[in-house]
Amino acid sequence: MHKLYIRIPLFFILINSLLYSCTEVVDVDVPNGGERLVIEASIDWEKGTLGQLQTIKLSTSTPYFTSNPEAPVTGAIVTVTKEDDGMQFVFTDQNNGNYITTNFVPELNQSYSLEIIYEDGIYVANETLMSVSSITEIEQDTSSGFSEDEIAVTIYFDDPVGVENFYLGEFIPSHSPLINFQALNDRLTDGNQKFVEYNDEDIKAGDLLEISLLGISENYYTYMNILENQSGDGGPFSTTPVQLVGNCKNQNNLNEEVLGYFRLSEVDKIIYTIQ
């Protein structure tokens, strides 16, 4: 949770929770905005690999409270084009919502375009493959955070000076179904050693933590930052949740709400075992 932007709202949430508040799970009637296409086109190029195998997931949104949130979309035609040389990568339908290619060619700072033909729509997006610094250090600490016993794992990396950088830190723990991610920028920290921290009161020695650091674009940062704030706690110091607007548009209907994002990132990945 080491991020100034999340820290400040977090600070207020803490005050709330420490002072008086009590929480309980309640039944709430929520509106239903209907089915919308979800494009999870995350091209991740792990450092030290060829990055040829890539998966794009298509699904539809579901009501907020449902017993079956999985709604895969099949029968779409999915292609990604590398814009400088026109090389096309066709992602084949696995009939389970996944579309796979095995011959992708990743190139840093290169622009790619996505095209998905599904039912009456042609969904398109453009994005650049963003590079990322390497993780320089990993540290496990027990005295950080608000409860003395809580284990905290921190990764460190160096932010390049003089350029705007945006990052996504991602922690996939083995002990919990919930992935933790944090979007970061270097607006106030340009050129410094930066860090991302994961802490959880339930994590214990022997648990695995898959840690990824991704380079992302400014627009994707904005998207993930809103997404991150809206999927957390909403106290009186939270901001009003808004519609998440991704970069995929239906050319035949520009007003259609399309969920998800087309992102391309270089990734530094570490699997860490809690000591």
Binding site: C22, F146, L188, V245
Partner: protein, 789 residues
């Protein structure tokens, strides 16, 4: 400005036609402690001649020669009736006795009930004396002015534990809150759990919700005028109290060889006031001090000095340390030129600052706002038909939007100083109280305000002059491209705004007991509180109007019917209002407001409107007193794309503000059983706060992500609670100087778990979506011991 004043001073005497008329003037005080009384009514029985005392207890009225009965009434005090023979200009000072009505008597006679003044054109005002406020049950027994005013119609806030208050659908930053005329920028201790005003140091408060007189300006929605006590000028007195949250002590008494008096009050919370915090090294605390002293130079000149200093400190396991506080001082000089012309000159300073240390990130954050205010107000009691208020003021603001400092060498952040900002806000005004006929009275005035955004500052220039642009490919708003910078030197005028703000109030008396009133006011607000959270936080930054951020302009219309019933035993006040606000800011999705120099790149300019019906029914006398307040209202906002293009926020459609409450009912009652016991209660019912619920979910990045659409289209469940308190005054008090009382209270008696928020997320074990309700105050018993000697 000065010319206008001089002209006024010269013209006014010319229209004096005062043959055969004489003037009575003087000061009204509380007999027991010498405190001057503001808003007391003085009239000549059997005539329509009458005035109310001003903020310093001064009055002046003019009548034809003759013999009269002069009647003086003030809420909570026994009325005075006195025969006078008016054949020359007369100086008459009065002292009113507090109304300790004997309760065992069958009939309780109270001359000065809290009846509504049906004659004066002033409407939309709620007054509270410190005495009334102290009777209202509160959280943990901590007397709270800001919570008390929310029991009146038209006043709400964003929820328990949220700071500030909202008047007639206006935002928190649209209230001009003044403590002895000094601007208070944050009214909350501990983020809104308690207010910064110590009731022991406060004489009275007046909340102007509409029909705002021309002498006030600078905020769009309301004026909360809080006046400190002057200090007991008759005897040394000590009051104090011990509660669960804090302890209080106030000392007051005569000074300067009985030429003046002083008051010194302090309040401090206990180091670890919250049980939940006691098992770790987190600390939450606040304290405040009030000072007031005055000195009578001679009959026509008096000096007042007031001060306030308050601070909050919150420390969490030495990971965060946050402090914030207001400080203010005011030196005033009352001068009575003659029996018709009263003046007051004020020199005021106030400052609000916040600091935040985030130890892990090595961040130290400081920001503040300071102002110096010079103000000159005059009242001219021309004759029975015309009274004038006029004056001028100028305020110099210094803004420090923030200094970000690395705490140590290993800090993640770089040092960053956001540009200081400077501004000068000046105004002149004149207001006329005009008795058009015996039944029709008017108060009309004009305020002219000017705001200068001053250097030294560097202003960014944007491509196409657009600090925010709509990216139509992505369908989002983004910061514009900076193409250059303009440097302004120290004192250079960067931007200038001028506004004429007309004010008008009318009252028409239907009969002895009822009247209708109407009012219109235009207000300009040149400061903006930059905050995109549901409730304002102490870290929010005040910023001046500039090229991109135009002043907020409010227009408000109100109409009301006022009636006293059963010989003033009951009173009814009904009002409708309609208010529009231009240039209301809202924030682009994902706005980065923290440590932001170029706020204009994060905002869109829209408008707000609110309308409502307010109803207030009071029982003014007897063993049982109290009121019922009901408000039916709407408060909404619209933020189109404007020059930035695109549809705007919420597709450019109207959306509810976070403080929109359709229904708001409060019942407040106080029952005096006997000399020993009295009881108070209040009940509150409100429509839930507007919120945005998810309208679906999607699987992304291994998580279930909620999707949202229409802003503030849903609502939290209705809010309601019942509070009670009992005050025990031991009988033995009667014959000794040490007087004490115990106040026992229960807040939220039936332990209603009111939702402060409902958040949506995945269960950390099952990953299934769930809605989690957070409630702040459950049942909260409290006990306070108060003493006085």
């Amino acid at each position: 400005m000065r010319k206008l004043l001089l002209t006024l001073l010269l013209i006014i005497p010319l229209i004096v036609v005062s043959q055969e008329k004489n003037t009575i003037s003087g000061t009204l005080k509380n007999a027991s402690n010498g405190e001057t009384l503001f808003g007391a009514s003085i009239y000549l029985e059997g005539t329509t001649i009458g005035v109310t005392t001003n903020e310093y207890g001064f009055y002046s009225l003019t009548a034809p020669k003759g013999s009269y009965t002069i009647v003086i009434t003030y809420m909570g005090f026994a009325a005075i009736e006195q025969e006078i023979q008016l054949d020359s200009d007369t100086k008459l000072n009065f002292e009113l006795k507090e109304d300790f009505a004997q309760l065992d008597e069958v009939v309780i006679t109270t001359g000065g009930a809290k009846k509504v003044n049906i004659k004066t054109p002033q409407m939309s005002v709620n007054k509270l004396s410190s005495k009334t406020i102290k009777k209202i049950p509160t959280v943990l027994g901590e007397v709270d002015i800001i919570k008390s005013i929310q029991l009146f119609p038209g006043v709400t806030n964003a929820g328990e534990g949220a700071s500030g208050f909202n008047v007639r659908g206006g935002a928190v930053d649209q209230n001009l809150v003044m403590l002895d005329e000094a601007i208070i920028y944050n009214t909350s201790h501990l983020f809104g759990f308690f207010s910064v005003f110590n009731a022991d140091a406060i004489k009275d408060i007046n909340l102007y919700k509409g029909g705002i007189p021309a002498r006030f300006g600078g905020r769009a929605s309301s004026v909360l005028d809080v006046r400190q006590k002057d200090g007991n000028s008759k005897n040394i007195g000590i009051t104090g109290g011990v509660g669960l949250i804090s302890s209080r002590l106030a000392v007051e008494g005569p000074t300067f060889k009985d030429k003046g008096s002083f008051l010194l009050a302090g309040r401090s919370s206990y180091a670890n006031i919250f049980l939940k915090l006691s098992d770790n090294d987190s600390r939450v605390s606040f304290y405040d001090f009030n000072l007031k002293t005055n000195y009578e130079i001679n009959e026509n000149n008096r000096l007042y000095l007031s001060g306030y200093f308050g601070k909050d400190k919150m420390e969490f396991s030495s990971a965060f340390i946050n402090t914030y506080g207001n400080i203010s001082g005011n030196l005033r000089w009352n001068h009575v030129f003659n029996d018709k012309l009263f003046s007051n000159l004020s020199l005021i300073y106030s400052k609000y600052n916040t600091t935040l240390e985030i130890v892990d990130n090595g961040i130290d954050w400081d920001s503040d706002i300071k102002n110096y205010n010079l103000k000159y107000d005059l009242k001219y009691y021309l004759n029975d038909t015309f009274n004038f208020d006029f004056g001028a003021s100028t305020i110099k603001y210094d803004f420090n939007p923030g200094l970000l400092k690395p705490l140590n060498k290993n800090s993640e952040v770089n040092r960053l100083k956001l540009d200081d900002k400077f501004a000068l806000e000046s105004a002149v005004y004149v207001s006329v109280k005009h008795k058009i006929s015996d039944k029709l009275r008017a108060e009309y005035g004009l305020r002219y305000s000017n705001f200068l955004q001053l250097g030294k500052q560097t202003i960014s220039q944007y491509e196409n002059n657009l600090p925010v642009v709509y990216n139509s490919n992505l369908g989002i708003y983004q910061s514009g491209t900076v193409i250059g910078e303009t440097e302004y030197g120290k004192g250079d005028v960067i931007e200038s705004f001028n506004n004429f703000e007309p004010r008008l109030a009318l009252s028409y008396q239907l009969n002895e007991d009822s009247s209708i009133k109407a009012s219109y006011n235009k207000m300009s607000q040149y400061l903006h509180l930059i905050s995109n959270t549901t409730s304002a936080t102490p870290l929010d930054i005040w910023t001046p109007s500039d090229t991109f951020l135009k002043p907020q302009i409010a227009n408000q219309y109100a109409l009301g019917y006022f009636r006293n019933l059963k010989n003033d035993m009951f009173s009814v006040e009904t009002e409708v209002y309609y208010k529009t606000i231009d240039n209301r800011v809202d924030y682009i999705d994902g706005a980065a407001l923290i440590a932001q120099s170029n706020i204009e790149t994060q905002i869109l300019i829209g408008e707000a409107r609110s309308y409502g019906l307010e109803f207030l029914f009071r029982k003014n006398r007897g063993k049982f007193t109290g009121w019922l307040a009901y408000t039916l209202s709407k408060s909404e906002q619209k933020t189109p794309g404007g020059v930035a293009g695109g549809p705007g926020l919420n597709n450019g459609e109207w959306y509810n503000t976070a403080y929109d409450r359709t229904h708001d009912i409060s019942i407040t009652g106080s029952y005096t059983l006997n000399d020993k016991w009295s009881f108070s209660t209040n009940f509150v019912f409100q429509t839930g706060r507007p919120v945005t619920y998810p309208n679906g979910q999607f699987q992304y990045n291994g998580l279930s992500i909620p999707t949202y659409s229409n802003r503030n289209a849903d609502r939290l469940p209705a809010y309601h609670r019942l509070d009670i308190s009992a005050t025990l005054t031991p009988i033995k008090n009667k014959n000794r100087s040490w007087k004490s009382e115990w106040v026992f209270g229960i807040y939220n008696l039936y332990n209603q778990k009111n939702a402060a928020s409902i958040s949506f997320g995945q269960n950390s074990d099952t990953a299934i979506n769930e809605a989690t309700k957070t409630s702040i105050f459950g049942i909260m018993p409290g006990i306070t011991y108060n003493f006085k000697f």
